[in-house]
Symmetry: C2
Subunit: 398 residues, 2 copies
DNA sequence: ATTGGTCTTGTAAACGCTTACATTCTCGGC
DNA sequence: GCCGAGAATGTAAGCGTTTACAAGACCAAT
């Protein structure tokens, strides 16, 4: 291994001088600089990262902790696994930022069996992995749902840490999330206000999922805000295609009039619903509208193409990274939650005419306390949306 | 920051002893061990990775260098971008191995504008990034097509390095690739031997792509080996949906009898072909068969589902990682190329009946010099395949 | 020549760990 | 009680940087 000493002796200077020309810090006479550069090139010297970290007292490395969905067969993609791409996209966002600042990115996947399928309380293997990691990085980016909020907060106290797509209710930890709530509102309003749907069936996500909660609340609020509208039933799914299908089959088996629309908590379940409906010959969107959430890739491919809400995943990574870097620079900074706007993606499963997807960024709706929302929404939000005459409806298109 | 010294003084021992209980190396009396452990937990001590690396003279980090396809709009998946998932999958394979051995994974994406769209000769920005990286890792995994073979070989001489999906012709560098050649042979044989297709049109990949070359050669060999079979034309595409579409339109515009099959060098182009065919009402597979390569996710979703060849991408990552670790342990080891078997995925675009995909691992065909192949293949391979009566044909299914 | 200032360069002390070697305990056998 | 062999522990020398500080070189002004 070539070290500073080798370069120094080859160039006939001290290691301090070599270090200086390497970083352009102190003043170095032109001819010395040239000599040193020559020696560096000649020997093919590359500074040792570990020694630099030790001397500088920073690693210039940030860690990204992802949850791996292990049900997936290696080397086989399927619709379920599309949610996996979430982290791939986050990673690209993070990496872009990292690189601009000449840092490095350390990746760790946590398998589902490690995370116990549910956020780990504390002291478990994930906790240990995180501690171990903390010796190698300046800060950590961690996905939601991997560690229980309490454990997360504990780690955040010991090292710079920001949570990606975290529970927006949780305070005291830096977080960057998509504005699920406003996105779901926009989607519900599109269905209710723009399309005049009145009787909605809700295929909900797991009760433990914070994003499902946000979407659920938003739907309920929009329904409450629009008299005459009602959620005729709810099925609690598990975010999988199969559960969306089962939920729909249950609905159909129960008999009674078909609801106007199926509001699914994610695209996978919406796709499941589409399957179930197609199986019994119910036409979408003529007989019933179906909408999803997330805008996973197959959403644009299914029949009919799915109206959904797109999340700014890559941006999530970028912002989380920015936040982390800020936190590293100033550990005393106030923690905060940052909500990124989502995008309403209108295709044809909602009843809009077929054609290329129409996209509209959802302006964040300021969130009020539950009581206030119900009261105000009837006036403010409902009326506002109606007055604005959504640019996504066929009549206003173009 | 809590250091060994803090723990040592808290436990009333020397730092050497703390280090010993930390790693269970030397003998430590039970009560001391307990005292030290208590101090560690108490202070929340975590060893500093940089200091460890420096002292141990190894980083326990390996780097993965991926090429990013920059044409992609952030946050929007499309068919083209599915090839991007290649690295995501490789990464998972690598990470799995890395973790078993308690190493860390450092990720770097190279954007297309950095890689100049083509393998960089030497001394360019990628070269510099790689050198820089080499100070932070014990070894590097790098994707094919990022750096020109010569530059790659130069780096390989300076540090442990293995190429993923590299040009299988290149020697002197460790490489792990999928057996494109055997996969393409199997696919071509399925079309020609099993389905009796005689007149094939080839939608080829770019001349610069080594994997396209392997597939091209394989096709030609199978054609040569089967008298009466002919490649009626070739269009050189660019691996994109659009180029597949254009190629097919050209073919149609040229008039003349329709070939029996379209042999596309990747799935994206096959999907483009499907579009072009559907646009003029030509039915697949009744009027013409179409096959792709890679088995990207949309291949199973398009109409009809695409018969193609699946690559063991995750395994590629695993094996490359294993190889790198071996190389790090023994820098003098002979370099070698490892070919991983591919899988023939039969859906219905080839003319097989619809239904779930039938998969069959392709046994590697020993590669002979061009002359020998042509001579022997007519007997060995052709006859062999016919005798075996492919288990994928409808008649032999089930 | 001396002085004082600016440039340029060198010296040496960290940084936090591992580990070879030295030292001190402990204890059974005498 | 003393010896010697392990066992347990401590000491200190690295590992390759960065950087504060010291020192030397050079030059203009005195």
């Amino acid at each position: 291994m070539v070290t500073l000493y080798d370069v120094a002796s080859q160039a006939g200077v001290s290691i301090a001088t070599v270090s200086r020309v390497l970083h352009g810090h102190g003043a170095v006479r032109e001819d010395t600089r040239v000599r040193v550069r020559a020696a560096i090139d000649d020997l093919g010297y590359v500074p040792d990262g570990a020694a630099q970290s030790l001397a500088r007292n920073r690693k210039d490395v940030i860690g990204l902790v992802c949850a791996e969905h292990s049900g997936l067969k290696p080397d086989q993609y399927d619709i379920e696994s599309m949610s996996l791409m979430f982290y791939d996209e986050v990673m690209r966002g993070v990496e872009a930022r990292i690189r601009e600042r000449n840092l490095s990115l350390l990746i760790t996947f946590l398998r589902e069996d490690e995370t116990l399928g549910a956020p780990e309380p504390e002291g478990g293997p994930v906790d240990a992995r995180l501690r171990e990691l903390s010796g190698k990085v300046d800060g950590l980016l961690i996905g939601e749902g991997i560690l229980a909020p309490a454990a997360l907060a504990k780690h955040a106290r010991r090292m710079p840490l920001v949570v990606i797509a975290g529970d927006t209710g949780q305070k005291g930890t830096d977080m960057v999330s998509a504005d699920n709530w406003s996105g779901a509102r926009a989607l519900a309003e599109h269905l209710i206000v723009d399309h005049g749907k009145r009787r909605l069936f809700h295929i909900d996500g797991p009760v433990t999922a914070p994003d499902a909660a946000a979407r659920r609340t938003a739907l309920q609020e929009v329904v409450d805000a629009n008299p005459g509208t009602v959620v005729v039933g709810t099925y609690t799914g598990r975010f999988s295609v199969a559960s969306g299908q089962v939920g729909t089959e249950r609905l159909l088996a129960a008999g009674g009039p078909l609801p106007d629309a199926l509001f699914c908590a994610n695209d996978q379940m919406a796709i499941g619903a589409l399957h179930a409906l197609a199986a019994v010959g119910i036409r979408v969107p003529q007989d019933i509208a179906v909408v999803g959430f997330d805008d996973i890739f197959p959403a644009s491919l299914c029949d009919p193409p799915l109206t959904t809400v797109h999340q700014p995943i890559r941006k999530l990574g970028e912002r989380a990274c920015d936040r982390l870097i800020a936190r590293i620079a100033d550990p005393a900074m106030r923690t905060k939650l940052e909500l990124l706007p989502t995008e309403l993606v209108v295709r044809s499963s909602c009843g809009c005419p077929p054609g290329p997807a129409r996209r509209r960024e959802v302006t964040p709706v300021p969130r009020r306390r539950p009581v206030a929302v119900t009261a105000l929404a009837a006036v403010t939000v409902g009326a506002g949306a109606a007055a604005a005459k959504s640019p996504l409806l066929p009549t206003t298109e173009r």
